[in-house]
Structure formats: structure tokens, C-alpha cells
């Protein structure tokens, strides 16, 4: 059976046909079934399948974007759960970008960061403060809330402010090494959270534990953006940019410097890599992704308070990175997707389903162990199982391989050219 399947998948044409069939099937399921979470997940799963097929890279990218930006939203829009699906999609996008940012810090540069959510918070608050009445409580000039159009500028501002904080955090990092870093970052994250939760006096900057409510929704050429399906596209856009940046950086000079520092600091320095600058770059760039998404998050929730930025959140982002496969971009994306979908959708659905069958069959479960309460337990078990069975992560990191044949050829050509040049020089 599997041999047959293997053979079937060998030909590219078969792959294309089967893949399209799968997408159509999942899409039809999403379209036709009234409650189609499974079909929705199947459709998302197609991206993972796509990743494993051996199409060329461009075809994969295009099909992936088409599925996520057109097919999925369109079909889902026919469903009652449209906004739910889009909300899940939006959250996945937000956390993917954040996890990709953390991946730069942890996966590439090898710096364990337990307070990463702070940058998200900084981004969120920077928009929340200025896009609500809040700013007028301490700003002597200007009119607040700023109009929804400012959102677009704030995406950049959020990135910049978060990057700045990243550098700020970097300063103690210059001296602290290895796992001591973990605790410094944890402390930093907690400090930021506590400050945000308390800066309502003497000057009211963050409105303290009451949080900031009534944040102005973004405005796109006069259209006010409020629904998850709209945010989905904003997030999707940012997400594509982030992926592009990460992929390019990974194989750039800077990316190699990160990995060199991660693998061996002393040797990296001996090769002329400045430790401080390289680490700071990792912190700043990683943080900036988080900051951008923080802005989006604030705009989407229309309310922020410090409870969204706890230490547990930081560890969740870290879980996404490690679970997905440290340093592996597709892995980290998958990790974020799995964790978010589990937490927001699957676990809730499972527990609902359990309690509805127990109700249907008239089984009375003591309130102490009712399935609604078991989400964390199931999540914990799943984490353990994942980790034990995918020890290298869901999609383990692989170093990009160069094509040796091409190098060989180019090297020969270059040698020939050099030879010509020297003999030519001799001629004249």
C-alpha cells in the first residue's frame, strides 16, 4: 500500500493531480459541511503537504499564497464559522511572526530568551496609547485618539520601538553569558509587564491594571477594519514580509555570523565577528517582528492590558520555536500553527465534544473532572508526546546545501579565466 503510494508520488504530474484533488476535497468539505473545523484544518494541512512535495520553489510559494489568501478565505466565507476561522488564521499569523523573531534569537544566535513577549507588549502598547484617549492623559500636545489611518505608520513605529527595546535589553546581555541570559531576559520581560501594569501614577501613561480600552480600529482608505477576516490579510501581509526577511537573512553574512556566534564564540571572534554587534542585531531584528504584531494585536483586540504579556506567554512562544525545530523556518511556522490551533480550537472542541457525548449518553461526570477543565492537561500530554517522538522538532533544521556540481564548474571556469588573464597579460 505504502509502496504503491510511494510510487504514485514519484511522478511530478501525479503529485500535482493528487495535491489539487486534496485541496479540492478539503475545500469542498469546508464549503459543504456545516461545522467543518476538520475540513478547515485539512485545508491548512495542505500547506504542509505542499512543503513536502518536490515542486520547484516558486510554484510552492505561489500555490501556498493562493491557498491561504484566496481559496481558504473564500470558501470559509461561506461558512457560519467564517470569522472564527479567520480569527484562528490571524492568531496563527501573529504568533508565527513572533516565533520567527524569537527563532532568530534562539535558533540562529543561540541566545535563550525567556522574556520575548515583552517586545510584543511594547508594540501593542505603543499603538494602544496613541490610538485611544490614553495619550491625552499625559501628552501636552496633539489630538488623541489618532485616526485609524495612523495604524499603518504604527506598524513601523511598533517595529522600531520594539527593536530599540531589544537593544536596550541587549546591553546587559553583552556581559551575561549562556544560560544566565535566560534569567536576565525573564527578568526583563517581567519588569516590562509590571511597569505596564503600574504606570498609572504618578503619571498615567498606561492606565495601569485597568488596561486601555476603546482602541481605534485601523482605517484603510476610509474603510474601518474591525473583523478578523480583514485583520487576516494585514497579518498575512506582514507575515510574508517577515518570512522573506528571515529566509534572506538566514543565508546572508549576518545569518552566518549569528550561527557562528552560536556554535563557538571564541572562534567567531577570531574570525573578526564582533560579538556585541551581532547579538544586538539578533535581538533588535527578532524584537521588531514581535513589535509589529503587537500593534496589530492591539488594534484587533481593541483592548490591551498587562495580563496578555505574562511569562507564560513568553514560554509559549519559545515552545513554538523548539517544538517546531530550532533554527528551522518552516518548522517554527508549523510549531506556531500547531500550538495556536491546539490551544484555541482543537482542545476547546475536544472538550466540548467530550462533554456533549457524555451528556448525550447521560453519563454524569463529577464537575471536578469535567472535560472543559482538561485543556491544560491534554495540552501538557501532547507537548510531552510531541517532544518524545519528534526530538529534533516537527520539521528539523537542515543546513542549506549548495550544489557542488555548480560550484565545481564555476570554480573551473574562474580558474580558466584567471589563467587567460595572466597569459593575456604576458602576451601584451
Amino acid at each position: 500500500m505504502s509502496a504503491f503510494f510511494g510510487k504514485l508520488m514519484q511522478s511530478k504530474k501525479n503529485q500535482i493531480i493528487l495535491f489539487i484533488a486534496y485541496v479540492v476535497l478539503a475545500g469542498a468539505g469546508l464549503f459543504l459541511l456545516p461545522d467543518s473545523t476538520i475540513a478547515f484544518l485539512m485545508l491548512l494541512f495542505s500547506i504542509l503537504i505542499l512543503y513536502h512535495l518536490n515542486f520547484n520553489l516558486r510554484a510552492k510559494w505561489i500555490s501556498g499564497i493562493v491557498i491561504l489568501a484566496i481559496i481558504m478565505p473564500f470558501i470559509a466565507s461561506q461558512s457560519d464559522s467564517y470569522q472564527t476561522y479567520m480569527e484562528v488564521g490571524t492568531l496563527v499569523g501573529i504568533y508565527c511572526a513572533m516565533a520567527l523573531g524569537l527563532n532568530i534569537v534562539v535558533g540562529f544566535a543561540g541566545l535563550l530568551d525567556l522574556g520575548f513577549i515583552a517586545f510584543f507588549a511594547v508594540g501593542a502598547y505603543s499603538y494602544a496609547i496613541f490610538a485611544s484617549e490614553q495619550a491625552s492623559k499625559f501628552m501636552p500636545f496633539g489630538h488623541y485618539p489618532l485616526p485609524g489611518g495612523s495604524f499603518w505608520i504604527f506598524i513601523i513605529v511598533g517595529a522600531a520601538v520594539a527593536a530599540l527595546f531589544g537593544i536596550l535589553l541587549g546591553v546587559p546581555v553583552l556581559r551575561v553569558r549562556g544560560d544566565y541570559l535566560a534569567i536576565v531576559t525573564l527578568g526583563f520581560g517581567e519588569i516590562i509587564r509590571i511597569l505596564l501594569n503600574n504606570m498609572d501614577h504618578p503619571i498615567n501613561i498606561t492606565n495601569g491594571s485597568m488596561g486601555i480600552a476603546s482602541i481605534t480600529p485601523p482605517n484603510f482608505f476610509g474603510i474601518s477594519i474591525g473583523s478578523s477576516s480583514q485583520f487576516y490579510y494585514i497579518v498575512f501581509g506582514i507575515f510574508l514580509v517577515v518570512i522573506y526577511v528571515v529566509r534572506k537573512l538566514e543565508n546572508s553574512k549576518l545569518g552566518r555570523s549569528w550561527k557562528a556566534v552560536r556554535d563557538n564564540e571564541i572562534a567567531a571572534q577570531a574570525m573578526g565577528i564582533p560579538l556585541v554587534k551581532t547579538k544586538l542585531a539578533a535581538f533588535a531584528i527578532g524584537a521588531s517582528f514581535s513589535g509589529m504584531m503587537g500593534v496589530v494585536f492591539a488594534a484587533k483586540q481593541m483592548f490591551v492590558d498587562a495580563t496578555s504579556f505574562t511569562y507564560l506567554e513568553s514560554t509559549m512562544v519559545l515552545v513554538m520555536v523548539i517544538l517546531g525545530g530550532m533554527g528551522s523556518v518552516p518548522g517554527v511556522i508549523l510549531g506556531a500553527g500547531v500550538v495556536i490551533i491546539l490551544r484555541t480550537q482543537v482542545l476547546t472542541n475536544i472538550s466540548n465534544w467530550l462533554s456533549s457525548i457524555s451528556a448525550d449518553y447521560g453519563i454524569s461526570i463529577p464537575p471536578a473532572i469535567s472535560p472543559e477543565k482538561m485543556q491544560l492537561l491534554i495540552f501538557g500530554l501532547l507537548l510531552i508526546i510531541f517532544a518524545l517522538y519528534r526530538t529534533q522538532g516537527l520539521i528539523p533544521h537542515k543546513n542549506r546545501k549548495v550544489n557542488v556540481e555548480v560550484l565545481k564548474k564555476e570554480s573551473a571556469e574562474a580558474a580558466l579565466a584567471r589563467e587567460k588573464a595572466t597569459s593575456g597579460g604576458a602576451d601584451s
Binding site: V106, P172, I194, I266, I322, A368, L377, G380, L383
Partner: protein
């Protein structure tokens, strides 16, 4: 202002010490596991919590047999703490078997164990909650009160600029027991062959096994000791604070981990010192911050205060207070 702070000092010291020794012993669990596996065992705070529940269970069982009233409190206490420590120790060994050893066998990257430890942490919290709630209807458990005789230190009489301080008998108990635990552990690790084996395993597992050291056994023993200490501390915690719930391990875990780092992670004396210092710092900050800042910052900033001190310490002594700078021969 200063007068206020000074008046309060004896009480703040006592309270800080109480909290500090609890941090210290839990911190040792972190430090030991970290020292040997370079793993931040996120589940350790919850092992501590489970120990408290196990202790409570034993206490209630004893009460059920009517032993609580017939035996001297100290004997009951010893039974409970030893039994609870042992059971928690075995729990720790079990966790290591299930969640960490398979990873080691598969040569997984170090950080993946972080995931299983977080998973274990969730599972422990919820499992304890279910069981407690199922048995008692409420997951918050209040232990029968023991050692709640109150003492008053009449220091004001001797040194009039101090206010009097009070503490309960349980404070003395906590202090004495933790000091005994800490000293015996320190001796064990620094003076016995097992201790040397632990340090060797920590530094190079493969080579340690070439020296006839059974690496898995050493790790099991480490987990047993760390977890047993955690469990025993859980019992002390229950006696000192009276009430336990399944979530006490979370924040306490973070604090204890912080303390371990402050002292120099992997270093047992460091963990002790870091724990006590953190307890004192926190207590001092909570009691005095708003006096010092004239109301601009209150007790809610105590963790900021503690973390800033931590960061400062690490900036000036990056290997923690007791850690030795690891000179890497190049």
C-alpha cells in the same frame, strides 16, 4: 522615613528569611538538575507543589487513623516530611524516566527537554487539581494547623529603635529543617564519591561513562534528591503558610530559579544564598519601597526591584554570586 525602615527591620528579616529558605531549597532542586543536565527543569516548581499535596494527604491519613492527636507533633511532622520527601523523590525519578531519559537516548538537542518539562508542569498542576477536587470538592487544601505557637521577640526593649517582631513556631521548624537539609546536601555533593560522579556527569557524560560511572543512575539519584528536597519543602510550606493550591509552584518556581541563578547556577551553596537573599530583598522591597519612593512606587514594584538587583549582580559578576568564572582554555 529611615526610622520607619529601621523599626521594621527585625520583622522584615524574619519574614524574608522564612520565604528565603523556601526559595533556597526549591532553588537547589533547579540547580542540581541544571548542574547535571544543563536543563531548566520547569516542572520543578510543580514537583514542589505536588510534595505539599502528598504531605497533606499523609497528614489527613494520619488524622484519619487518629494518630494526629496521640503522637507528639514533632514525630508526626517527621513522618510526614520523610514520607512525602520519599514519594516526591520517586515522582521525580519517574518524571526523569518518562520525560527526559528517552530524549537523552535519542541525542535530542538540549532545549527540547524544556518542552517536556513544561508539559509535565501542566500535567502535574491539573492532575493534582482533579484529584484534590474529586476527593474534597475543592482543590484548595488547608492543612490542620500545627506549630502555630506565636513568639514575640522583645527587641524593642533592648534596642529601642527597633519594633518588636513576631513569628510562629513553624518558622523555627522551617529554618532548622532547611538548614539541616542544606548542610547534608552540601556534604554529600562535595565530599562523597557520588558527588564527584555527579559533577563528572555534568561536565561530560560520555567520558564519565568510560570511567565506569552509570550515568543514568547518577541522574536518577540527582532527580531523587532534588525532588525529595522539593517535596519536603512543599510540606514545610504547607505548615508555614497553612494553605496550598495547585498553582503555588508556578511563581515560586520562577523565583527559585531566579535565586539559583543569582547564586550561580549549578552551585549548591549559591542556590542557598541566592534563595535567602531573594527572600530578604523581596520582603524588604514590599515593606519599604513606598516609604523610600514617597509613594511613587509601592510594593507592586518589589519584583522589579529584585530583578534589577539580579541583573546588576549578573552584569558585575556574570557567573552569579557564588559561581566561579568558567575559564575556558583556548
Amino acid at each position: 522615613m529611615l526610622a520607619h525602615i529601621i523599626q521594621n527591620l527585625p520583622q522584615v528579616l524574619i519574614d524574608g528569611l522564612t520565604l528565603g529558605v523556601v526559595y533556597a531549597v526549591v532553588a537547589i532542586g533547579y540547580t542540581m538538575v541544571y548542574g547535571i543536565l544543563e536543563l531548566i527543569n520547569f516542572a520543578h516548581g510543580d514537583v514542589f507543589m505536588t510534595g505539599a499535596y502528598i504531605g497533606a494527604t499523609i497528614l489527613f491519613l494520619l488524622m484519619g487513623f487518629g494518630l494526629l492527636s496521640s503522637l507528639p507533633a514533632l514525630i508526626v511532622f517527621l513522618i510526614v516530611i520523610i514520607l512525602a520527601g520519599t514519594v516526591t523523590g520517586m515522582l521525580g525519578v519517574g518524571i526523569e524516566r518518562v520525560a527526559y531519559r528517552p530524549l537523552r537516548r535519542k541525542n535530542a538537542p538540549k532545549l527540547i527537554a524544556l518542552i517536556t518539562s513544561i508539559g509535565i508542569s501542566f500535567v502535574l498542576e491539573d492532575a493534582v487539581r482533579f484529584i484534590a477536587e474529586l476527593k474534597t470538592g475543592n482543590y484548595i487544601i488547608t492543612a490542620p494547623s500545627m506549630f502555630n505557637h506565636k513568639f514575640n521577640i522583645d527587641i524593642h526593649h533592648v534596642l529601642p529603635f527597633f519594633n518588636n517582631a513576631t513569628f510562629q513556631a513553624s518558622f523555627l521548624l522551617v529554618l532548622v529543617v532547611t538548614i539541616i537539609m542544606l548542610i547534608s546536601l552540601d556534604l554529600f555533593v562535595n565530599k562523597t564519591k557520588w558527588g564527584m560522579a555527579m559533577r563528572a556527569v555534568a561536565q561530560d557524560r560520555d567520558t564519565a561513562s568510560l570511567m565506569t560511572i552509570n550515568v543514568n543512575r547518577v541522574i536518577s539519584v540527582t532527580f531523587f534528591i532534588g525532588s525529595a528536597l522539593g517535596g519536603a519543602t512543599g510540606v514545610l510550606f504547607m505548615i508555614q503558610y497553612g494553605t496550598i493550591n495547585p498553582y503555588i509552584g508556578f511563581i515560586l518556581g520562577i523565583k527559585a530559579f531566579t535565586a539559583a541563578v543569582l547564586g550561580g547556577i549549578g552551585n549548591i551553596r549559591g542556590a542557598m544564598f541566592g534563595g535567602v537573599m531573594l527572600g530578604l530583598l523581596e520582603m524588604f522591597a514590599a515593606a519599604n519601597l513606598s516609604i523610600i519612593t514617597n509613594g511613587a512606587m509601592g510594593a507592586e514594584y518589589k519584583d522589579v526591584f529584585a530583578f534589577i538587583i539580579l541583573i546588576l549582580v549578573l552584569i558585575f559578576k556574570p557567573e552569579g554570586l557564588f559561581g566561579k568564572a568558567v575559564v575556558e582554555k583556548v
